[in-house]
Symmetry: C2
Subunit: 348 residues, 2 copies
């Protein structure tokens, strides 16, 4: 604690008796100076308190080791689960993650990607806002930096950007099939039309229902949610339907767990979780994601669990591969889909 | 989209016909060059695609506009609620937030604060791990940068660091008093001994119970949670007690909402949410925080709501004040406490 504080390279040069240019070379690459010199610098650094400037030492390197991550919201445990997986993988690869939330606002999303560019980030991982994203801004950044979409992607733009997420066709088929085998075929409660997942999961539900010989039924509603407040939206939709006596004995497949949590709340308030003959629940609700709260609901939520660990790691791996072969601009885009697994709990 | 891409200051100088030193001065302070020159640069920048380097343009400024935020975990909606409040306040003050999670690991917390120092951050907001934090590392950083503890602080170290959080004495008294007025006096389920909140809330409960003439009762347990997995910890503790017939008709005040969510889950599994005479619940569970999920529980959670908005804004305001009066090292530390409000729902 009593080591002298050194604030600049000049002070450091004086304090340990090594010239400034040599120190610069050392911080950019310790092997670029003679071993006796690097030993002298190492010993000198132990005697003082000096923190080399992150950006100055990286200024002449090709890479900064900085990876930007942008999510629509951080008040969503699905996204923060992905984020923790990304952070863990990044730490192992000696990369630093800078996270920004776009707060559901395209202008903030745009500002965040441009700022990452100005910080000389090595790459960017974006879960886009989707339908509201500023396509021009995202493609400007994608043209300059390794860029990966995670969780969802733009539907009609930037098809050449790498993507890692869940195979919605597989995950939705898995849970639809399970629900059909174990009770009444499910109706589908979609999320507001925000991103590729909302479209893909609905399409996957329709395809699987037809495949199994059932009529797909989409819960249609006039209620407009404010986008990302999924629990409140689903609660309002289902409360309205249950109040009018609709769907009270059906099976409801929700496009994500946060919707299912809102639907369970509405069903509980209407006292709909009674049990029929043989102890079976009559009303059944299932979700998609395996949100960290889902197991603590009453009834505990049956869902298709996304592999957030693999998706987060996958995104970091795609970026590190891109960084390795720096001139790989002509490579084909990576399209990495992970499978979900069924988590059968109490709600269905 | 077809503007020529400019990657360096040299290229920019050639492209718009202004010397490099003048450009540098312009990016550091547009008012430092003649107005005709700054107009020429502005028009030139519109014709090309150039993103000035974030750090290069700030190299000679006193400030980078970069604020670091470190939280124990991001898979916790209480912390991400605080984070969104910080981000919103920072955007209004034209500051950029860099967030890092310490994943509950003191070594990662230390690495994160030191990295923020090396990035020349203007200030740091830390919700410390608490009992496990590396006091030496935190005090090293606090000695160099404006530094604010948020939500909790170290108990026996760094008393001179600014702090903003909830007045646990007020918040716990508020809900304890409410519970005593409306039913049986509460027993207290604390969180694992992680940080100042765990100690302060227990002490506040004991003081308020004594003040009201009741015997404080702390739920004691041999179960060791893995630190931050509060729901699972509380579920295990209460499931064990309920299985042995304990506390099944009591009032349980939990030190945070995530504990209460786990306790509600255990109570639901044991079928304890029946109603007694006059429709009153016999078992009652209350929390502390108003976690975003609490209103969607069944029963919906009664809790003391922390003012995350005010706490997040407060932290940013303290830092911006410190930055304004740069030599204010001798100032007294700020100790800013916000009051909680009661949210009466169904669980108590």
């Amino acid at each position: 604690m009593n080591k002298p504080k050194i604030n600049t390279m000049e002070e450091l040069s004086t304090a340990i008796g090594v010239s400034r240019p040599t120190l610069s070379r050392y911080f950019q690459d310790p092997d670029s100076v003679r071993s006796s010199t690097s030993e002298k610098i190492r010993r000198g650094l132990e005697r003082v308190e000096y923190i080399p400037n992150f950006f100055a030492t990286r200024m002449n390197r090709k890479t900064t080791g900085l990876i930007g991550v942008i999510f629509p919201h951080l008040k969503d445990l699905f996204f923060t689960s992905l984020l923790e997986a990304i952070e863990t993988a990044a730490m192992e690869a000696d990369l630093t993650i800078i996270t920004q939330s776009s707060h559901g606002d395209p202008a903030i999303e745009t500002r965040a990607v441009e700022q990452l560019l100005s910080m000389n980030a090595d790459g960017v991982i974006v879960a886009p806002l989707g339908e509201n994203s500023d396509v021009d801004a995202l493609s400007r950044v994608a043209g300059r930096l390794p860029f990966v979409f995670i969780d969802s992607r733009l539907r009609d733009a930037l098809p050449d950007v790498d993507f890692v997420g869940t195979d919605n066709r597989q995950s939705v088929s898995l849970i639809t099939d399970y629900l059909c085998r174990t009770g009444s075929p499910p109706v589908f409660l979609g999320m507001p039309r925000l991103n590729s997942n909302s479209f893909e999961r609905e399409a996957a539900y329709i395809a699987e229902m037809k495949h199994l010989g059932h009529d797909p039924v989409i819960v249609s509603t006039n209620i407009k949610g404010d986008g990302w407040a999924f629990e409140a939206y689903a609660h309002e939709v289902m409360d309205d339907l249950f109040s009018r006596g609709h769907l009270t004995e059906s099976t409801i497949l929700c496009a994500n767990d946060r919707l299912a949590i809102g639907a369970i709340r509405a069903a509980s308030r209407h006292g709909l979780f009674s049990r029929g003959r043989e102890g079976r629940r009559i009303l059944r609700i299932a979700g998609h994601d395996d949100h960290p709260s889902s197991r603590f609901m009453t009834p505990a939520l049956t869902t298709a669990a996304q592999d957030t660990e693999a998706i987060g790691r996958g995104a970091v791996r795609i970026l590190t591969e891109r960084l390795r072969k720096s001139s790989g601009a002509s490579d084909k885009p990576v399209f990495q889909l992970h499978e979900a697994v069924l988590r059968v709990r109490e709600s269905a």
